[in-house]
Symmetry: D2
Subunit: 227 residues, 4 copies
């Protein structure tokens, strides 16, 4: 059997953070040529420059993550943290997409995969800014997804929660019995996903076999959200 991403050029943003490392690992094993970017995409022109620098991009993995400020009541969510959440996760998504689409339209082929959050689909307390920004990603993916589908470009979002990563689930937290009990209560599957499992779903969305998925936000949360 051949590797599943042989010959495909993949741009991964914030490659050192969040789902970046697992994506580079899994996609690399499958033969992808990876452009792993770790530049600050909030600066003026940064997204456009990155796409310019990257050259051909068959698959864009929009891995955009900021702190979720979990535990901050909505009455105390300040303007700076609010703005930063959108500056990191929402506005670069549009700028990257806008910059990469023309080459994909020309080739009549392309994939954009967004690592998003299930908090966009189900309300959770004390994550107001994060939930709003993650939901903006969902609305964007839905709208752009149907717009570019006739060009044979597929844009989809992984609406994840309860995936291992050292920022949202630091090792010290994960070892607590109270956290384990909470997991069993909140997540029907009763455990966190590994980052590799998550990247394997992204791999599925990156392949030709998933061309029929269009503008979707697909829950990946061990049953915490089902639709």
């Amino acid at each position: 059997m051949e590797k599943r991403l042989e010959g495909r050029r993949v741009l991964v943003t914030q490659a050192g953070d969040y789902m970046g490392p697992a994506t580079c690992e899994v996609f690399g094993e499958q033969g992808a040529e990876i452009v792993a970017d770790a530049s600050d995409l909030t600066r003026d022109g940064a997204c456009e420059a990155l796409i310019e620098r990257a050259g051909r991009v068959d698959i864009l993995v929009a891995n955009l993550a900021s702190p979720n400020f979990s535990g901050t009541p909505v009455t105390e969510m300040g303007d700076d943290d609010w703005a930063k959440t959108f500056d990191v996760m929402v506005h670069p998504l549009h700028r990257l997409t806008r910059a990469v689409l023309p080459q994909m339209i020309d080739r009549r082929r392309g994939k954009i995969i967004v690592y998003g959050s299930a908090t966009a689909l189900r309300g959770l307390k004390t994550v107001s800014a994060y939930s709003a920004a993650r939901a903006a990603q969902v609305g964007y993916v839905q709208a752009v997804g149907v717009e570019v589908a006739p060009h044979n470009i597929q844009v989809n979002l992984i609406a994840q929660n309860y995936v291992e990563n050292p920022v949202y689930y630091p090792p010290a937290l994960r070892e607590k019995e109270s956290f384990q009990a909470s997991l069993r209560r909140q997540v029907p599957l009763g455990r966190l996903a590994t980052a590799r499992e998550d990247a394997q779903f992204a791999l599925f969305l990156a392949g030709e076999e998933s061309d029929f998925f269009v503008g979707q936000a697909i829950p990946f949360s061990g049953g915490w959200v089902q639709r």
Copy 2:
């Protein structure tokens, strides 16, 4: 029978635009004391000053609308229009909510009703910024809705589409036979809603009889979106 909003103080934003006029009319008929604001809420401190000025607010009607730039392909959606969409519809929603919640929490009672859009729930082409911003409102309402529910405050959103208003559906458009045919094809009910119908749904969400609705985005679109 008594009027349904007797003694309730209602703040309506952008009162001259979009759903503002119909809301003031319908809520006024039901005995509400209305603070109809038409100030520019994108300016620094404007939201906080408005809540300060308004005094007691039993019900906040967040009527925040910007152009939807329908017809603009995602590849041509510029940074200024993108930013404006969020500046008008998303950021003031947080600042108004944050400012008004403390008094509602103190009284253990309050309602926040957001006039949103069904484009947050179903993808539509050439409205990328608008869909993203409207979806941000949905994510915000879901998260804040569950957070403040224990204080007996209900936050909900009307996910509307195909509601009469002179900006999105100018009279000249509405008279075209092609528009009428498109309506019958797209909207199962086959017509636009009147602004009054929409305001009557807001009236329902403003009353005590709807306390059990919590953090919801409820489609109001003649069947265009069902869930």
Copy 3:
């Protein structure tokens, strides 16, 4: 102000059970002429005979409830209980609808309101048959809702959970501290809805002001389900 259902003829099924009593009370207060039926609708021809007997029906309230067998693992859900669940809640919904639609189509006006369940929208363990049957109601309402909307007939479903009723929440259960704690954990609003609150939502769906709701399953669950 006039009463909201003056001159409207309403058929309520299983009028003595579940949401029947509260519906008859609330709709009666608003001037409706109520046909309160308590016949067994699972018998051959029973639905058709009821519609025949009822004469003019402006509003059909399909209040169809069976035990939910909560606590029965899926591996032990027997054929008889499975079949009964569909016999009571699903098949009569179609037969009542099919029988009442022709007169509504003739008058170009009508409302069908289904008291359904939020378990159709969110998975819950040990209620497999009930969840499947309640979901069948949702699928039916969505499909029939868009089909009959052009006739100006609105079909909608209340996707409820955590509503007071003596069958699902017997008084002895409600008094337990463990039940109260579970409520606060599961239901963001932290309490059950009263049956009257639920009937008031049905009242909203029964009125002309809600004509723009088409084929929808609307969560009514204190935030347990939001969409």
Copy 4:
């Protein structure tokens, strides 16, 4: 690279119909040992006998399809066709699941994949029975999915529409220009999926890499339904 279903025993129902042939082909290529059943599962005891006969079943592919009677108005949907729809698609799903779960629970591992329909998620006219039955499958999968997840068994459903198959889309229909135009209007991607594409999604759901999907109904419809 190794084959993805090496050593896994897969039971495919109605193996000659609908998605059966493509599933057997794709799963076979990946090394699965396939039990391709074509018996009539509506007969008493048929499901239990099949599971008995099949021996070890690692993966159950519930491929249950009946005519959709598209074009039949709800007022003309007769009792026999209504019952048949549930007899073929709904009741055997429970009986197969109930019979196969004990061995999966014993092994703490198993997958149940249901080929369902996106008509469960979005209303379509003149398919009332079909939509209701397909929605029952969704409700069942959601409930059973969260119930059996703690046993490390994953139950998921493909909510598909616009997938090639000779029953719903006969060749004569597919060749019509009016059908092609309708496809471009209804399906953002502008084409039908091949049966192989669909089976490849089932393959993804059959593999270990998708263990984090729990009780979900995932749209597969070229963008016709997004959530």
